[in-house]
Amino acid sequence: MKDEDIIKLYFERSERAIKETQLKYGRLCTYVIKNILKDSSDVDECVNDTYLGAWNSIPPSRPDVLSAYLSKIARNLALKKYEYLSAHKRNPEVLLSLSELEDCVTDFASSEIRYSDTDLSDFINRFLRSQKQENRMIFIRRYWYHDSIKEICKRYSLSKSKVESILFRTRKRLKAALEEEGYEI
């Protein structure tokens, strides 16, 4: 079923919307969540919460890209759950990918939020669009979807050293771009 038809079902408040979402994007949601949470019962719970999240937010929302919309809900729910879970249940891949990204900043102590979502959104999307498609996709797979390096190598048929080098260089460019933009890091 086409995305527009599924969204139409949500607007009609038809429960079939959930079923069709599950059929078409169930695997994608599970994949996104599994990269953050390891426990299968947590994953199932999060997947169901994702459908509920979509049900509660559409309408009024009318997503342009349903797959990305669902991925975002799934990821946010999984990250929230992740925060509350005990350390032994955490997926080390998420810790690893987040710690890699922390190379870009040096001040972790402050919890004061000073930059607006709009500014950050504008910056990161502009930065990613200025990168080569392959580098951009690998960056997003690693730091948004939390794919392991091994999974990225498999997905793009690249060697481990090449993926690591692409990520390293992209992080370096991100750091330089942040500085250039006036962000203190």
Partner: protein, 297 residues
């Protein structure tokens, strides 16, 4: 003011839908591909088995060499080795010289098709395998190899393309098979391979239909302008049993005198078509592939 960790993570959360979709698109493709590649992979294995069996035979009976005559538009020579007699003069090799500055994919396909017409190759010409590497910035061919079979005359045709010439080997497969009678074991291998290959052949793509639809290739190539190389492969595939099984991320095109994008997949359900095939494009060496499904009416 220093950016802190939370802000950095918040920034990553702000990646927009289009970019997430772009990265997720590959996810769908890769899973779809695992389903979709079963048939082509099986066909490739079949062809490898067949190729191995045939090359064993050829190594015994024929010393294959290509000695194109330089300077002529189309030069023909028959192999005149002693071993060739074993094949009853059934193998011919042709060299077509092309512009050394490079040739577009379409001009190369035009040339090959014109050659087939000139040599009386029948319309029942099916592609067994095809792999052509292009330079996407101007669609010029770097190299390629196409294996075909004329189903009327049972002639095997191998086309080897380089930047400045095309070598076409034509061999009567019936005669090749008879030579294998000298060796019972090899004959047995050949029979097995032929049985497999027959099944593969009946579901293969017709060259002329592919040639007509190939005008789409430059359009595909133009999508990879920033890539160094592109590999174009046509892999067949028999009639697809279930349109619902095809990922919506795979663009579907239909060839009916002209190539059109299918907007509404529902219309494919009631449509009669000859067959469908995939055009797979891969950027090398980084191997990011995109597939296009083409229905030919």
């Amino acid at each position: 003011m220093k950016m802190n960790k939370e802000e950095l993570l918040r920034m990553i959360n702000q990646i927009d839908d289009d970019l997430l979709y772009e990265a997720a698109e590959e996810y769908h493709t890769s899973h779809f591909s695992s389903w979709k590649r079963v048939i082509p992979v099986a066909a490739c294995i079949t062809l490898l088995v067949l190729g191995a069996a045939v090359s064993v035979l050829r190594n015994i009976t024929v010393d294959r060499s290509h000695e194109g005559i330089e300077g002529t538009a189309i030069s023909e020579h028959k192999e005149n080795t002693e071993k060739e007699d074993t094949l009853n003069d059934s193998k011919k090799s042709y060299t077509i010289q092309m512009d050394s500055k490079g040739n577009t994919i379409n001009s190369v396909l035009d040339l090959i098709t014109a050659f087939f017409g000139e040599k009386g190759v029948s319309e029942e010409l099916v592609i067994q395998s095809m792999e052509i590497r292009l330079l996407p910035k101007d669609n010029t061919v770097l190299n390629g190899r196409i294996m075909l079979t004329d189903m009327e005359s049972f002639t095997d045709i191998t086309v080897s393309i380089s930047q400045n010439k095309v070598i076409i080997d034509m061999e009567d497969s019936n005669t090749t098979n008879s030579s294998s009678n000298e060796n019972d074991t090899l004959q047995e291998e050949t029979e097995t391979a032929q049985n497999i290959s027959y099944e593969a052949i009946i579901s293969r793509i017709n060259w002329y239909d592919f040639y007509k639809a190939a005008e789409y290739v430059p359009q595909i190539a133009s999508e990879f302008e920033d890539s160094q190389y592109m590999l174009v492969q046509a892999e067949l595939v028999a009639l697809l049993p279930d349109i619902d099984a095809i990922s919506e991320d795979i663009p579907i095109l239909i060839y009916d005198d002209e190539l059109k994008t299918v907007e509404n997949r529902e219309e494919l359900r009631d449509m009669s078509y000859s067959y469908a095939f995939f055009v797979r494009t891969s950027v090398t060496p980084d191997v990011i592939s995109r597939d296009f499904l083409v229905y030919v009416k």
